[in-house]
């Protein structure tokens, strides 16, 4: 057993023998790169000049008033390409270049990671192929168009459920075949080691900035930090620098879809049992035969049956709490944020916003209104909602929300 590949009992490298040397090379190259000041300089240069970091930690004053606690939004939605995904892509593609690879492949669900990878590939002149489930291609036509404009080839995956998990399977298969010249850019904090570590490293810029910003704004650390969890990349980035700060509560918000009790959800931590998928051992939604169950969420980015291994560990060790928010709660929060703050969040991010509302309410009951008002929450607004406008329109039409 490769001990460093594990977070407690989670993680590992459950891949074909033909990928083991590839992972070892990747691990060595990654560890060397993040200790090389030149590499870090380059990475931070592109984050600043190209991605537009640092992103603001915005005090959402009106939302705070409505909900009854101090709410700061970490504005990852203001990044180039509209979400936190690009932070990781810049890091991984710089690493790919350094390793002499000429091609990159990626999986994508909603298309955000695909767009970010296509963007990075265009910027660094790499050939890019994105695997996307046939079902998602239909749902996310706009992002398919964006990827193609950026020069990527989008491959429609028609196996299994035709969604993100199948696109990931196909990317892994292709990678096993072509690893000699191809770098697999994984978008979430999942996959075989060192991917979960790598994604965390490149996303931890979120919490590094947020910690500094909240100290400047409030002179103290927040009481609670929240982020939505699909595979867990924005949340692990949002948690990273706060994990050692034991007084800061960490809360990950999964998608409860139509409700955990309906079985149509994407909360691997709520009902999942440990399992192995996509090269890692972690909590996994599976049926009574041990086959992987389809996840459901109105948000394509949270629609994943597994979760990153470090999250599984943070849950089991008690350092972080995981909860879930239904489709309806998320959509209500989304509309509320639009109206109160003039921010259209991604449906993924709206899950975190929905939970802060619940959390503040409980706080008020527990501490009383005055004390609750002094409590500080930092919420990761992982992406903007432009990509979701069609989904939102369909949802509203069905529900008649605006009438």
């Amino acid at each position: 057993m490769n001990k460093k590949a594990y977070y407690g009992e989670f993680g590992g490298q459950y891949v074909a023998e033909s990928l083991m040397n590839t992972l070892e090379e990747l691990d060595a190259a990654f560890e060397e790169a993040i200790r090389d000041p030149e590499f870090l300089k380059q990475y931070h240069y592109y984050l600043k000049q190209y991605v537009g970091r640092e992103t603001p930690l915005y005090y959402a004053e009106r939302l705070s008033g409505e909900y009854g606690m101090k709410i700061y939004l970490k504005r990852e939605d203001l990044n180039h390409t509209g979400a936190h995904k690009i932070n990781n892509v810049i890091g991984q593609i710089l690493l790919a270049k350094r390793m002499g690879k000429t091609k990159v492949i990626a999986e994508t669900g909603a298309g955000q990671h695909g767009v970010a990878t296509a963007t990075g590939a265009a910027l660094f002149d790499m050939e890019c192929t994105v695997y996307m489930g046939a079902e998602d291609i239909k749902r996310q036509a706009l992002n398919v168009m964006r990827m193609e404009m950026l020069g990527a080839k989008v491959v429609s995956v028609t196996s299994g459920s035709n969604t993100l998990k199948d696109a990931t399977n196909e990317a892994i298969r292709t990678w096993a075949k072509t690893a000699e010249d191809t770098f697999y850019v994984i978008g979430s904090a999942v996959g075989p080691y060192p991917y979960p570590k790598m994604v965390k490293e490149f996303q931890s810029v979120i919490s590094r900035e947020a910690k500094k910003q909240i100290l400047e704004a409030e002179g103290r650390l927040p009481d609670v930090v929240m982020a939505c969890v699909g595979g867990g990349s924005n949340s692990i980035g949002m948690f990273a620098d706060f994990i050692e700060e034991k007084d800061v509560k960490l809360i990950g918000v999964e998608a409860a879809g139509k409700g955990i009790e309906t079985g149509e959800h994407a909360s691997a931590m709520a009902l999942g049992e440990p399992g192995v998928l996509h090269g890692m051992r972690s909590y996994l939604l599976q049926d009574e035969d041990g086959n992987v169950q389809l996840a459901h969420s109105i948000s394509a980015g949270l629609d994943y049956p597994g979760v990153g291994p470090e999250h599984a560990y943070l849950k089991d060790s008690g350092r972080a709490e995981y909860t879930s928010i239904t489709d309806v709660e998320a959509m209500d929060a989304l509309m509320e944020l639009c109206k109160v703050e003039g921010i259209i969040p991604a449906i993924e991010s709206a899950h975190a916003v929905a939970y802060v509302k619940k959390y503040a309410k409980e706080l008020k009951e527990k501490l009383g209104e005055e004390k609750a008002k002094e409590q500080i929450a930092v919420v990761c607004l992982s992406g903007r909602g432009d990509k979701d406008v069609n989904t939102i329109a369909d949802y509203l039409a069905g529900k008649g929300y605006l009438n």
């Binding site: 057993m1 590992g12 196996s159 298969r173 690893a179 090269g279 086959n291």
Partner: protein, 263 residues
Amino acid sequence: MNRIEARMETCRQKQEKAFITYITAGLPDLAATKEIIKAQERGGCDVVELGVPFSDPVADGPVIQDASYRAICGGVNVKKIFGMMEELRAEGVEVPIVFMMYYNTVLHYGVEAFVKKCNETGVDGLIIPDLPFEEQEEIQRYLKQSDDTILIQLVSPVSAERIPKILDGARGFVYCVSSMGVTGQGADFHKEVKSYLKKVKEATELPVMMGFGIRTAEDVAPMKELIDGAIVGSYFIQLLEKQDFAPQAAEEYCAAFRKELNR
């Protein structure tokens, strides 16, 4: 002695090359699978590789993906496959049988309980493509308690310096993957396939079996001196499919391939 090891030893003494075929359990249903396994035995197959269908078979190409998907839709699961194994052994089927499966199926069943059930039902070996050497400790702890079920080691064209480590203590035979990637890509073997097979041969006394992309005995003819046998999966499934899973077709194909392999 383990059933696979006994059969491999017989092949060695007779100076024959071994032949292994793969089918997905439950394609088109478990009753048919039983008849096909019996036909494989009659055709002279040395080991039957039996695929336990899983929802996310990342080491497999389109043919076996599709076969697994259909078997799952037909309601096949590992418990029913164990049931079939019991019947086969009770009916006198003696051919060594290995499960080709993914690790989640084992974990979900419970590793210890799974190994015990394999021991009891006459599963002679396991091939788990998403369980590389570094992750095998957990299952080996239980497998090593008896000779009944052994773990078959896979090596790939890029395993290189990993080969000695993987093969130290390996049993049964070595499964040499012929090319990078997944099953059923055709006989487009890795460019370094010969030097790689040579490396494996040097590292072990075990029979070297080559698989992935093989269709006919002719495909492996250039490597004949370097291997002790061949494994056919996707092509065998396609062939059976065309003949409506007739046991006769399985028997004839196995007999012809094995004969050709040993000509």
